[in-house]
């Protein structure tokens, strides 16, 4: 079993007391308190958009609603002292260079205590109620519930009873924010799902990106083994009003044999970027895009490959990065110099936003350092191609690069275009392509 000393980051004020059960009356997010509580509820329009139309979609809704709700709530929690530090007082800059990596000097983000031991060689690990999880978070850290609503319009209720039958999903603050507005999206918090992607939760995350409507509001996901800090399903999100370096990187479309991909999702390969990855775009509906990406993630999970996901461009472009840094680190293969900067390359770092702990590192931060660090994270070309093949097979996309006899493929597309893929199921009769 491989273990490493991660640089720890605290996401909730209650995390430091992990292991202690405080019981109820604390207004937490557990079964004891949540069903009898009232929280603000933002219910988004749940029909998948019939088409991803561009008119006006780049713009937040005319009244900027979800953003006001999120940012207003965040500012309110700031005034109540719920954050460990004022992130806007942390100096930040764009590192000169072609890509414009963003560096921040933040000496307070990382805890000064012994980190919880965490297996890094297993992407799927069962939920452990004894370890810290989000049901232990106080409700004051929650901004609002974010769930699919009935009907054709988004609705907001300032105080909605949660009720016994609901499976609420919440948006909570991240008390160690990487930027102003840093929040956590926790799907179906009471279901205590471990950190693993499933189609419904991924779709929820995409809806949030779409509802916020701003290309500068992104969501991110880290699997276990790729620097997720808590084994309770969550996505992170924040605003940064500039492009991430990865968003500027060129891509090359992976041609897909026509007709097999009914959903019109386009998959491309990232070029000229230190971390190899896939970029997903298009799709007839949000759900189409969501399902292809979710199935790709599930494939990686099943194959025990750690990965990170960046949801950008209001849910229209999704980046998938399989990675291997933790394993390299445990095997002692990463240079000490890089390790000393204590940067865990999770989704934000891979996308190009680095939080540095030491002034020296911040002052000397260069595009070359960022590139070197991220290059350690990436799978090798050969391994990436292998992983890409697994993913294509699992999602029923047939790359044009591989020549296949038509008869043998008939089974695959129908099976993969159905909605939820059961976690352990690969399509029957699919070919292992070499």
């Amino acid at each position: 079993m491989l273990t490493i000393k991660r640089v720890p980051t605290v996401l909730s004020n209650y995390q430091e007391d992990s292991g202690e059960s405080r019981g109820c009356g604390r207004n937490c997010l557990g079964k004891c308190c949540l069903p009898v509580s009232k929280l603000p509820l933002y219910a988004f329009k749940s029909d998948a958009r019939p088409e991803i139309s561009s008119s006006g979609v780049d713009e937040p809704p005319s009244d900027f609603f979800l953003n006001s709700l999120l940012l207003g709530g965040w500012e309110d929690r700031m005034s109540r002292g719920l954050f460990r530090y004022d992130v806007t007082a942390c100096e930040t800059k764009v590192i000169p260079g072609e890509y414009g990596f963003v560096a921040q000097l933040n000496e307070g983000r990382h805890l000064k205590k012994r980190p919880t031991e965490f297996r890094v060689d297993r992407v799927l690990q069962p939920f452990d109620p004894a370890k810290f999880n989000f049901t232990k978070v106080g409700q004051e850290e929650v901004l609002f519930r974010f769930e699919a609503g009935e009907g054709d319009k988004a609705r907001f209720l300032e105080s909605a009873a949660v009720g016994e039958t609901n499976t609420p999903s919440v948006v909570a603050i991240n008390v160690s924010p990487i930027e102003y507005g840093h929040v956590l999206l926790i799907p179906r918090v009471l279901d205590c799902l471990p950190q693993r992607i499933d189609p419904d939760s991924f779709l929820l995350a995409l809806h949030m990106a779409a509802e916020a409507g701003s290309p500068y509001f992104r969501l991110g996901y880290n699997s276990l083994g790729a620097f997720a800090t808590i084994n309770h399903l969550h996505f992170q999100a924040y605003f940064l009003t500039m492009p991430f370096p990865v968003e500027k990187a060129p891509t090359q479309r992976i041609p897909v044999v026509k007709g097999l991909s009914q959903s019109k999702v386009k998959v491309s390969k990232l070029l000229n970027y230190p971390v190899r990855g896939l970029v997903y775009e298009g799709g007839n509906t949000l759900k189409d895009l969501s399902d292809v990406v979710a199935n790709s993630c599930i494939c990686l999970q099943e194959n025990n490959i750690p990965f990170n996901v960046l949801i950008s461009d209001s849910g229209r472009r999704i980046f998938l990065f399989p990675q291997c840094y933790a394993e390299k680190q445990a095997l002692g293969e990463v240079s000490q110099e890089i390790l000393d900067t204590q940067v865990n390359p999770a989704v934000w770092e891979i996308s190009g936003h680095m939080v540095l702990k030491r002034k020296k590192d911040y002052e000397e931060a260069s595009e070359e350092y960022a590139w070197r660090l991220l290059a350690e994270v990436s799978l090798s070309e050969a391994r990436f191609e292998e992983v890409k093949a697994y993913i294509f097979e699992a999602t029923g996309l047939e790359s044009e690069e591989e020549k296949i006899e038509p008869e043998e493929n008939k089974g695959t597309p129908h099976q993969s275009s159905t909605t939820a893929v059961a976690a352990n199921h690969f399509p029957e009769g699919c070919l292992i392509l070499q």
Binding site: S53, G56, P61, W74, R155, T241, M242, G282
Partner: protein, 416 residues
């Protein structure tokens, strides 16, 4: 508790045909701003002068909320199939569609944010929904007086499909003029019986077009774009001298340093609440930004208040202790919420729920203070957020904008 529906004005429009009634009303309200955008700076004769320039182009105003189109050339309207009414007041992204490359959209957004020139191939959509490739050439025009971007100009040159040897055979002589021309021009120049104009612009296989990842523009097309750009710039520069509000293609070094870039103004313009930004680094802490809603609330016009201290809202009945409280908070760089009696321009009074907060930029230091006003007697906007939450929402949005947009080490270029 009653569920409150969030208006979805303009947001979920599924197609680009005539805007809904509500959007029309909104467009009507800001129509005055649109009309004045050009005439205020270039005189009443500018429209005529621009109409004489061949080519497809749009002019947009980043100083107006939503960054709307304020001028569309005849050539552009013919090429895209829209009428002038359908285009003015709308944002340029209305011509993008499902197969428009998202990275190209990012490049355009960044060029606007960084106030620089960009030339890029782009897939756009006409009114009838058909896609077509264009060479998109964007450049800013700066006001010499304040150094801000007065307008952006977007020249568009159609990029036809190259591989048609058929076209070469049919229209050998006129080929030079047919390529890269707008439809109007083509019709006038084309030989009788040559229907190539239609062939060039109506793609029989739209799916094929959308599957194209990119389409390179030829040197000829790039030249056409530059030529049109120069003609337009020339006209704008010339006519700006008539009003004295001269423009130039370069930001003047002699311009008074405006602390607010057009990208910050654009971001702030999206916040539809009454607020102002003041600059604590300048003497007397003047107002450097005021939202439209602040102007409606108080009755002042923008030029009357920019550069002035915020205290003109106070008057004889404003409690001195409250003013003192505000000053003290500012001294220790803290936020505060107060309730005080304020005066409009016409002398009428209102109870102002005022929230004042420091706003830091990327250096971590306080760059501005944001003052958010709520008229206690104003009707609730019915969206369900308490006034206090709405105020904090403004603070949050301003903080995000100021912090991120001050983050430049100099514009970074995407790799080609």
């Amino acid at each position: 508790m009653v569920a409150l529906t969030i208006p979805s004005i303009g947001r979920r429009a599924e197609n680009t045909s005539p805007p809904s009634a509500v959007a029309e009303v909104m467009a009507g309200c800001s129509r005055r701003l649109i009309d004045q955008s050009l005439t205020a700076r270039y005189s009443d004769w500018i429209a005529e002068a621009l109409d004489e320039i061949q080519g497809c182009f749009l002019i947009t105003d980043p100083g107006v909320a939503g960054h709307p189109i304020v001028f569309a050339s005849h050539g552009f309207l013919a090429m895209s199939g829209y009428s002038r009414e359908e285009v003015l007041g709308r944002n340029g992204r209305m011509f993008q569609g499902p197969a428009t490359n998202r990275r190209s959209v990012l490049e355009i957004r960044e060029a606007i944010r960084e106030e620089r020139t960009l030339q890029i191939s782009l897939l756009n959509y006409r009114k009838d929904g058909t896609p077509h490739w264009i060479l998109f050439h964007l450049f800013p025009v700066f006001g010499v007086d304040d150094g801000r971007v007065a307008h952006f100009v977007a020249v568009q040159v159609p990029i036809p499909r190259r591989s048609r040897s058929l076209s070469e055979a049919r229209c050998g002589g006129a080929r030079g003029r047919l390529f890269g021309a707008c439809r109007n021009e083509v019709r006038s120049d084309c030989d009788l019986g040559c229907n190539l104009a239609a062939d060039l612009f109506v793609d029989v296989d739209n799916r094929g077009l959308e599957a194209e990842e990119s389409r390179e523009a030829s040197e000829q097309e790039k030249e056409r774009a530059s030529d049109a750009a120069n003609s337009i710039l020339s006209a704008l520069t010339q006519y700006s001298k008539l009003t004295g509000r001269v423009v130039s293609s370069q930001r003047s070094r002699l311009a008074g340093i405006s602390p607010l870039s057009s990208s910050l103004i654009l971001s702030l313009g999206r916040i539809k609440q009454s607020f102002v930004l003041t600059d604590p680094q300048l003497p007397d802490m003047p107002i450097v930004y005021a939202s439209d809603e602040f102007l409606s609330l108080t009755g002042y016009s923008r030029h009357e208040i920019l550069g002035h201290n915020y205290e003109f809202l106070n008057g004889p009945d404003t409690e001195v202790e409250v003013l003192h409280q505000i000053r003290q908070s500012i001294q220790v760089e803290c936020a505060c919420t107060v309730r005080l009696l304020n005066y409009r321009k016409d002398g009428s009074l209102f109870w102002n729920l005022l929230h004042v907060s420091p706003v830091r930029n990327a250096s971590g230091k306080v760059a501005f203070y944001v003052n958010v006003q709520i008229d206690e007697n104003a009707k609730s906007d019915g969206l369900g957020l308490s006034p206090h939450m709405r105020q904090l929402g403004v603070v949050g949005a301003v903080k995000v904008a100021v912090r991120s947009l001050s983050l430049c080490a100099g514009p970074s270029r995407p790799s080609s």
